[in-house]
């Protein structure tokens, strides 16, 4: 004898849909990293793009292996670099600062020098190959 089954209509429960979506949302909220990398921006010159520049408009900035800086022939403390460069930029606004670091010098000193130049609002920075 076959029993009669009454079919009560099949529906997917949608009341918990919001909860499921919330869970997924929280997962992606947690895994998203909003904090961006930060650092000193620099644009390198294109390959083979070498310009002849008047010697008057070049200010050499040399970094030696012990982290001492020579700016245009004078020894300058890294923390006073911004001040000195700012003065020189007032005298000559076409000035290009050519940074040349010794191959055994530390990257930290180089970053400090670039930072100081940026603080002095020097936009024309050239990186000389050592």
């Amino acid at each position: 004898m076959a029993k009669k089954r009454r079919f009560k209509g099949g529906e997917i429960p949608t009341s918990s849909m919001a909860d499921i979506a919330f869970l997924l949302l929280i997962f992606f909220l947690v895994t998203t990293t909003i904090d961006m990398d930060k650092g000193l921006g620099m644009v390198l010159p294109a390959e083979g793009e070498e310009l002849e520049i008047n010697k008057k408009n070049i200010l050499n900035c040399l970094i030696n292996s012990t982290g001492n800086v020579l700016l245009g022939g004078e020894a300058v403390e890294i923390r006073n670099l911004a001040k000195t460069v700012r003065q020189k930029l007032v005298e000559n606004d076409k000035l290009i600062i050519s940074v040349k670091a010794h191959s055994a010098s530390n990257y930290m000193d180089y970053v400090k020098v670039i930072d100081q130049l940026k603080q002095a609002n020097a936009t024309r920075i050239s990186i000389a190959e050592s």
């Binding site: 930060k38 390198l44 970053v111 603080q119 050592s130």
Partner: protein, 136 residues
């Protein structure tokens, strides 16, 4: 004289569109999440004041340089003249590419200079010296 108000306002926040709103938010976070992360090399970044934020993670590619002189891109080690080929391919795939150089503060400038040359050869000219914020 009292006025009987018969109209009763139905004050309920409609919840029918709730899942839709949440799904929208969900899709936003799904799209913006970058799950692929590279371990890199153990480094201590230099500190600087005039720092800029990198605009987009999507257009950024990292180069790690440790103090021992190891160069790592996407968790693979390269010699300094191998950087050119990897970066050139990345540059072709994404013209907006910004290279973030994560170098240890005690890394030698000789190597950094080599990387500069390599990046110039690869035409990846937008560079960012990754650094921490310095506090006076």
């Amino acid at each position: 004289m009292k006025v009987n108000r018969k109209t009763q306002l139905d004050t309920e926040i409609p919840t029918a569109s709730m899942p839709d709103i949440i799904f929208m938010l969900l899709i936003f976070f799904m799209v913006t999440t970058v799950l692929r992360e590279y371990a890199g090399l153990p480094i201590s970044l230099p500190k600087a004041k005039r720092i800029e934020k990198l605009k987009s993670k999507r257009h950024t590619s990292h180069i790690w340089v440790s103090k021992e002189g190891l160069v790592s891109i996407e968790d693979k080690l390269y010699s300094s003249d191998g950087v050119r080929h990897v970066m050139y391919e990345k540059r072709v795939a994404d013209p907006q590419l910004v290279v973030s150089l994560k170098a240890d503060e005690r890394a030698k400038m000789g190597l950094i200079s080599d990387i500069h040359t390599e990046l110039r050869k690869a035409d990846a000219l937008k560079l960012n010296y990754s650094s921490k914020t310095a506090i006076d």
